[in-house]
Symmetry: C2
Subunit: 237 residues, 2 copies
């Protein structure tokens, strides 16, 4: 549970350009050389490690290269609230650009590799590279939409709907990354799922059981096999 301090790990990042970040990049050719200046460090986190903590000074955003992270804030009354799960190919830290202080924790859920992108450099490079600027705004826009999506998910819905939507969403995100198996691995705990979906941990457990009883999924520990995707999607409606 150690916070990774920047600068400690100084191994240069070779294969860490925009293209490999799974960003909606439109960069080509020489521009990549410039981009590589932006990416400074690539380093590893173990499950439970903090990438940053609430209140930490903001130095830049992070591209998740492998593994997964959760971001969670602390509500006014002191409870944890998970605000998102971030798979590889996604970006974390965009919520800190404004105030220059991280408003939430980012914690690795499993062994995870991230690339650090100093935001100042990114901005400077964006001024020279129109395409990069476009990418940057798109990435931020996408993050805004992602959160809106979660908001929609949390509106007045049943526990079953939330769990179903959660599974479908996770499946689709993994599918986009080329993972076509029907079995998805939950890297997060039941606690995290419940917290994220606004449900008690027991409810999460019961819903998994209920879906299993209906023959829609198969749950074994952190492995969830989707047996009837169409039915699952119907429940998600």
């Amino acid at each position: 549970m150690t916070t990774v301090r920047l600068g400690k790990i100084k191994n240069a990042c070779q294969n860490c350009g925009v293209r490999q970040l799974c960003l909606p990049t439109s960069l080509d050719g020489n521009e990549f050389n410039l981009m590589d200046e932006v990416v400074t460090h690539r380093f590893k986190l173990q499950a439970g490690d903090h990438l940053y903590k609430t209140g930490d000074e903001f130095h830049g955003i992070y591209a998740v290269k492998s593994g997964a992270l959760k971001t969670s804030g602390v509500t006014i009354d002191g409870r944890e609230q998970v605000t998102g799960f971030h798979l590889y190919g996604e970006i974390v830290g965009l919520d800190a650009v404004d105030e220059k202080i991280h408003p939430c924790d980012a914690i690795a859920l499993t062994d995870t590799e991230v690339c650090h992108l100093p935001f100042k450099k990114l901005r400077e490079a964006s001024a020279k590279l129109p395409n990069l600027l476009e990418d940057l705004t798109k990435i931020m826009s996408r993050e805004i939409r992602r959160e809106e999506h979660v908001l929609m998910l949390l509106g007045t819905t049943t526990a079953e709907q939330r769990i179903a939507r959660f599974l479908v969403n996770l499946y689709e995100r993994l599918q986009k990354r080329g993972e076509l198996e029907n079995t998805i691995t939950l890297f997060m705990s039941r606690q995290d799922i419940g917290n994220y979906l606004g449900l008690a941990i027991e409810t999460v457990s019961r819903q998994f059981k209920s879906l299993r009883d209906k023959g829609i999924i198969n749950v074994d520990k952190k492995k969830v096999e989707i047996l009837a995707m169409e039915e699952l999607k119907t429940l998600a409606l």
Copy 2:
């Protein structure tokens, strides 16, 4: 209930620079002249008018100059879900930058004035003006944080907490705009509030009544007078 089409209203926007947008602007002097090129139109909406609808092509973002808007999407199962209320001084439309299509509706809650900021121009100007670029990223970052805040609000909390937090948040936003009265005007319906907070309209009604019985607020139609702010904040915890 008419959608305002761009281009129909072509009156140039005089007092619509960044400074007046209540943005965290750091622009000075001549740069403003460039900025004024970015702002194209300023126009009025009546209560119920759509600024844009889900699926509309994205032409730019909008700065709310007066009044208030709600943004709401349609969930997979066809229900409306309010994702935010936007007071004057705030920006709407940032969630469309990525896909170039508006993922939600933006509807005026009262008579509202907005400025249209073509995003392409904004981006082009940002490449020349480092400060503008900084502002743009900050604004987007702030929007991301705003939504995270709503997420935290919707996590496992009671109806009373949600209503209390909603009122405190609204009060503080109005206060930042220099409105120091203890009476706030809800420009949105109970329906919208309930939808936004994930509560049934009846529950909203009952919670208002309950807070009134406790002597914490005074409700008369859309006017909410806060009698005991400290107690309200305690309930919000």
